[in-house]
């Protein structure tokens, strides 16, 4: 990510942060840490405690359960939230598919972040609702 302006513009284009004002996006850009993962690098590890919340800024990530790929996540998707919200180790590996850029928020900071930015919580709920709906459709 070349500059602060580019980062803010990118965040503004992600559904999770779509309702935030520009100064709030600045706060998000400084609260999350930008991380880069090379192809094949694991970000979340199934069964490991102490994981964090990630939002994909660019690239793709595969979701693997017991070695089998279950889904592919891309720009704007987030992962790690279930583990953080429930305080349980992730039930899947998440692995970079090609170069991957994410924003990361320590699990312990997620509650205060969501309370500070309730519109992000609402967007996150919507995304979870879509995931539940999709899961139900596949039953």
């Amino acid at each position: 990510m070349a500059s602060r302006v580019e980062l803010i513009d990118t965040l503004a284009g992600l559904a999770l942060f779509a309702d935030l004002s520009r100064p709030q996006l600045e706060a998000v850009a400084h609260t999350f840490e930008e991380e880069y993962f090379a192809d094949g690098q694991r970000i979340l590890r199934q069964g490991f405690s102490g994981s964090n919340l990630y939002v994909i800024v660019s690239g793709q990530a595969g979701v693997h359960v017991d070695g089998a790929q279950r889904a592919v996540l891309s720009r704007g998707d987030f992962f790690g939230e279930i583990s953080v919200l429930l305080g349980e180790p992730p039930a899947a590996d998440v692995v970079a598919v090609g170069p991957l850029r994410c924003l990361a928020l320590p699990g312990s900071d997620v509650e205060s972040f969501l309370l500070t930015f309730p519109r992000v919580s609402y967007r996150m709920l919507q995304a979870e609702a879509r995931r539940v709906r999709t899961a139900n459709l596949w039953r």
Binding site: A2, S3, R4, P23, A27, E34, Y36, S49, G50
Partner: protein
């Protein structure tokens, strides 16, 4: 094995010979700060021939100039629970470089005058210089790295003294370049490195842009002088006592924060700076609240951009070097190699580009000497084995020694304490090869790559700040995490821990 010395030497202006004339070397290190010195020392111990080049005139790197207000934020305790000069003592002395030779260990406390357990900048500089002198770390000073070319079997570096060819290139130049975000008008504002003596700010309104250590360091120095201090940045200040790590403002600089909390005239505001204007000899700063709404306009006699530093990567981006953190850090493997340009390695504070598992949000502690000096030892071994087929001994361990050994490591090993959740002590269990001490290894490498049945032990800190031994067992290629309970006195060698670890290793040992 001693390092081969180049046969050709050039005489410097003072008549002293300059080591490492231009030519071909297996490894070239650029930088003579703690990262470069430490890597050179361990490469030499392993018999890996290399050159060390530095644009500076003397060893010390960033410590030749910073911290600005002359006092470090990492401890070196003259009196500590471990004996000075022993391996466990390094946890109580985060600033001295490491050596397998006791004569070169724990040098920084030798130069400390007892007024603080944080060394002064000058004391640190003297400690580093003593290490370079006594351990005979040779450096070609006054030699500036200018450009880099990829070749068939490595790299060619153009320098002010000529060309150097190498198979592996280790860059240890620190995060040495002042950095500012692209805020309109910020180019008018002095950077932290241009801060003047505190009395210069007497009776002035001062706005400091940035609420990390450098921002609070400046605020702390100006407390007796400035009429008012306003610290501005978009996110709330992260304090080390809350993050349970060195990621955060250190306690040494908390006086301005306490002033803010008590309402004494210092303000630490969560606001994004929109622009800065010059008004004659003063400034006007426009900002917008982030965690709570509000527009701010501050008239200030002085503004200081405490906005951090970036890595002087020169032309490496053109070779395809991936970066992150707003282009300030290279993206690195667990062994500190560029993820996109194999053969380019990093040492020193830039090794924070390898974050590790970041358990409970705590990244590697590679931004400071205390953490990255251990990385240098691991890197030297990695280079020796990967590029030069040098076999580092893997001592055998008797079965009954495994549990006490791993527990003593998690109780006292400075690698594990300085690099929580990042560096692990690994023991392998191979039916043919027996039980072997595999040494200190990045945990991410252990858990994400295959290998024989083995166990890795690390120290981890949970979200409440409690320290735990954590054991990762690999059986049949599959790795499982086991976090052991914490202990209020960090006594991890009780019979309870012995029993729990023995149960975890059942079938392996």
């Amino acid at each position: 094995m001693a390092m081969k010395q180049p046969t050709k030497r050039r005489r410097s202006a003072k008549g002293q010979s300059k080591p490492f004339p231009p030519g071909r070397y297996p490894v070239v290190i650029v930088g003579s700060g703690p990262g470069g010195l430490q890597t050179s020392h361990f490469l030499r111990r392993l018999g890996v021939e290399h050159a060390v080049l530095s644009a500076d005139a003397a060893p010390g790197g960033m410590f030749l100039r910073y911290p600005l207000f002359q006092r470090l934020i990492s401890w070196s305790k003259p009196y500590a629970p471990a004996v000075r000069g022993t391996r466990p003592y390094a946890w109580y002395d985060w600033n001295s470089l490491l050596s397998d030779d006791q004569a070169y260990q724990a040098l920084v406390p030798e130069f400390m005058d007892g007024s603080s357990y944080f060394p002064s900048r000058a004391e640190m500089e003297r400690g580093l210089a003593a290490f370079a002198r006594r351990a005979r770390v040779q450096v070609r000073y006054g030699c500036r790295w200018e450009a880099t070319r990829k070749t068939g079997d490595g790299f060619t570096l153009s320098t002010s003294d000529g060309e150097y060819a190498c198979r592996a290139f280790v860059l240890a130049v620190g995060m040495a370049e002042p950095w500012k975000p692209d805020v309109p008008g910020l180019d008018l504002v002095p950077h932290y490195v241009q801060t003047k003596p505190p009395r210069t700010y007497a009776d002035q309104h001062v706005v400091i842009l940035g609420k990390r250590n450098s921002g609070f360091e400046v605020a702390d120095a100006l407390l007796p002088w400035a009429r008012q201090i306003i610290l501005l940045s978009p996110r709330p200040a992260l304090l080390s006592i809350h993050s349970h790590s060195t990621a955060g403002v250190r306690a040494r600089y908390l006086l301005p924060y306490e002033d803010h909390a008590l309402g004494g005239g210092v303000f630490a505001l969560d606001a994004a700076t929109d622009r800065v204007e010059r008004t004659g000899s003063a400034y006007r700063v426009f900002a917008t609240g982030t965690t709570r709404p509000g527009d701010y306009v501050f008239n200030a006699g002085a503004v200081i951009a405490a906005t951090g530093f970036t890595t002087p990567l020169q032309d490496l981006r053109a070779l395809g070097l991936a970066t992150f953190n707003q282009d300030r850090l290279p993206a690195l493997t667990p062994f500190w190699e560029s993820t996109t340009v194999p053969g380019v390695f990093f040492a020193g504070t830039v090794t924070q580009g390898a974050i590790g598992l970041k358990k409970h949000g705590i990244p590697s502690n590679s931004g400071g000497v205390g953490g990255f000096r251990h990385n240098a030892r691991v890197l030297a071994r990695y280079l020796a084995e990967k590029y030069f087929a040098i076999t580092v001994p893997r001592p055998t361990i008797r079965p009954e020694e495994v549990v006490p050994y791993l527990l003593s490591e998690v109780a006292r090993a400075p690698e594990l304490w300085n690099q929580r959740s990042y560096l692990a002590r690994v023991v392998s269990f191979d039916r043919r090869d027996g039980i072997r001490d595999e040494g200190i290894t990045p945990l991410a490498h252990f858990v994400d790559t295959g290998g024989p049945d083995a166990a890795a032990i690390v120290l981890e800190t949970d979200q409440t700040g409690d320290h735990h031994p954590a054991v990762y067992t690999r059986r049949g290629g599959s790795v499982t995490e086991h976090v052991l309970p914490s202990n209020p006195l960090h006594n991890f060698e009780t019979s309870e821990y012995h029993a729990q670890l023995a149960a975890l290793l059942d079938g392996l040992v």
